[in-house]
Symmetry: C2
Subunit: 409 residues, 2 copies
Amino acid sequence: MAGFVEALTPRETALDHVSAVLRFPWKGEEVPVPVESCSGRISRPLIADENFPPFPRSTRDGYAVVSADCLGAAPGSPAYLTLAGEIPMGSAPSLSIRRGECALIHTGGILPDGADAVVMVEDTENAGNWIEVKKAVQRAENTVQAGEEFSVGDTLLKAGQKLDFRTAGLLAMAGVREAATARLTVGIISTGDEIAPPETVTLPAGKVRDVNASMLSALLIGEGHSVRNYGIAEDTRDALAAFVREALRECDVVAISGGSSVSMRDHCSSILEDLPPPGLLVRGILMSPGKPTLIAGTEDNRKLVLGLPGHPFSCFISAYTVLIPLLNALLLGKPAGPWKRVLVPVQEPVFGHTGIEEFIPCVLRNGRAFPFPVKSSFSKALAEADGLFRLSASHETIRQGEEAEIWLW
Amino acid sequence: MAGFVEALTPRETALDHVSAVLRFPWKGEEVPVPVESCSGRISRPLIADENFPPFPRSTRDGYAVVSADCLGAAPGSPAYLTLAGEIPMGSAPSLSIRRGECALIHTGGILPDGADAVVMVEDTENAGNWIEVKKAVQRAENTVQAGEEFSVGDTLLKAGQKLDFRTAGLLAMAGVREAATARLTVGIISTGDEIAPPETVTLPAGKVRDVNASMLSALLIGEGHSVRNYGIAEDTRDALAAFVREALRECDVVAISGGSSVSMRDHCSSILEDLPPPGLLVRGILMSPGKPTLIAGTEDNRKLVLGLPGHPFSCFISAYTVLIPLLNALLLGKPAGPWKRVLVPVQEPVFGHTGIEEFIPCVLRNGRAFPFPVKSSFSKALAEADGLFRLSASHETIRQGEEAEIWLW
């Protein structure tokens, strides 16, 4: 048991080391996903093949004008323009504007030839065939130029961008109905003689239900991946090795959530050591919780294998801060997490230790971040938390008023 | 057009007013969702019907001890305990501990009778049948008591909590495989003669593709709701009224994304006015963007109808800050948004105006929030943003170093 974790690797070093040795990126399975769907990760940039808008448009209700005609216009000295007509919505305007003229235009309408700006209706008076303009406008004011949203060749989606409500409108604008996303199939193996399947109704004495498989599944599915659950391996090297072999055959990535017994840990590390080269790459990470994390990989048939801690909170931290970034590295070449990193002043101390990177659940109350230490209830801490405090290895306790780093889900 | 928005209602007032007049909560459709799935909203609290853990467990690898035996133990003055045996994983221990004894225990193992704490293996030396304990432990240290995670009657899920990786482990722990979630069916109607269906490949002159329907769909689906898309209504009162009638028959909520023409806006507000009581409740909201938002409802057959602005960014802001909170109010009785509200000092000014609540896209860079004003490209602003700055009506520009309120997705 001593010797299980010999030299702990800092987390970011471990991520970079594994990415470099395994020569990420590899390729995931490509899956087309409807733009309105909300899961999945874009595998490659999507480039615009048309301009949007296709024509110069008004961004306001008002009058299309020649901006030079409105020079110096003000409530006391309005400009008077002849109303030449109304721009129809949804078809090309047949009228064009000459100096001294204007045309009624609605938000989204095509700017007629000759016009170079739009005066908002609020800044005008309608006097029959005359329009009184009471405010000067700059060239292009209240308009959007053709191709201003995006032009042919512009990147619509960056590699790794997630499909959600933020991208759905953009893709609809560009006429894209499905986007190519990359996903990985991750095999999940649970170990531990005390673990019973989650569907167990009445638990035998000494058993608890498998928490990690469900938690990992939800985390991975939420990140757009596909999950295969292999159930619970018996506490023998042969049993675990058979599970790992099967999972390696069917999946891109295998995550073993660790049994508590010494023998199971030994089995796990010995199986990872015996993988084809480069095999076991990281044997313990300098983080708390999550220390007993193992990372291995095979370059030939491109498989990534992780051994995650058995305690559900440690397992979660390891999956969230190591596994997910590694899956992104695998697909995109660079480790990246799903969190939003924000620096915030804290209202009460966040207790930590130097020499090790620490993660503590964080809850937001009235816009302020508070630590929610995992004491008695891991499950409540995770269910209530809005994210994590991250205390780098060089940080001890963060005092009241000092800035802390939070990672929001 | 003048007169369309007469008296603007502050957003929060509007949400509370609508919730009160329509006597929320109403009932949504109840849908069972697997705990590993990542969408869906819990309609009602879920209560634990068992204790977890079912027995006192060790949270460490080490030795189960009687804490009184280790009083004052230190590296220079260790306590010596007799090793009575090893606690098996996954079954009830047959051995119990007397004063002066200890038992090898693994993380998750059942605390044997007689023991009241666990000494970590790092704080011991193994000397054959004797274990040298070099650190004192408190009663219950490194253990979790039966029922400490949760006990019979504890709330496992609060009403409105979302199912995701944070709840999956907790539910698995409790043996719950499916949770009851509530969802609403939202009908989406687009209007505007310049709008073409999103699947249009070659746009006729003057037309643009429908952006709002896709964006609203993705937003609603991401919040766990179901969407029916009715397409684009022609610019006549009868055409729009027929769409609204059909959607009201089939959906709980109808969202009309607004056409740009004056007549279409008039049609929309007149149709909402003609709904059964109480009908049109809010006619414009004191926010920017998103002002021309209409809210109506019928109490008899419990339908909620919104008119959203036509400009995609305004439509998004209105949907995110008004529609989604109203759907939560409908299901839960209280308006609540999906955002994470954080107060952060800003590094550069965020320009705003007093007298109106404003929303400006916000991007995070190196843990700091920067404004990303929607200038030329709405779609890029939304796709790149990590959230929104919210400037309340009483806030003008927020200066460098001052605190701003951000709402992160």
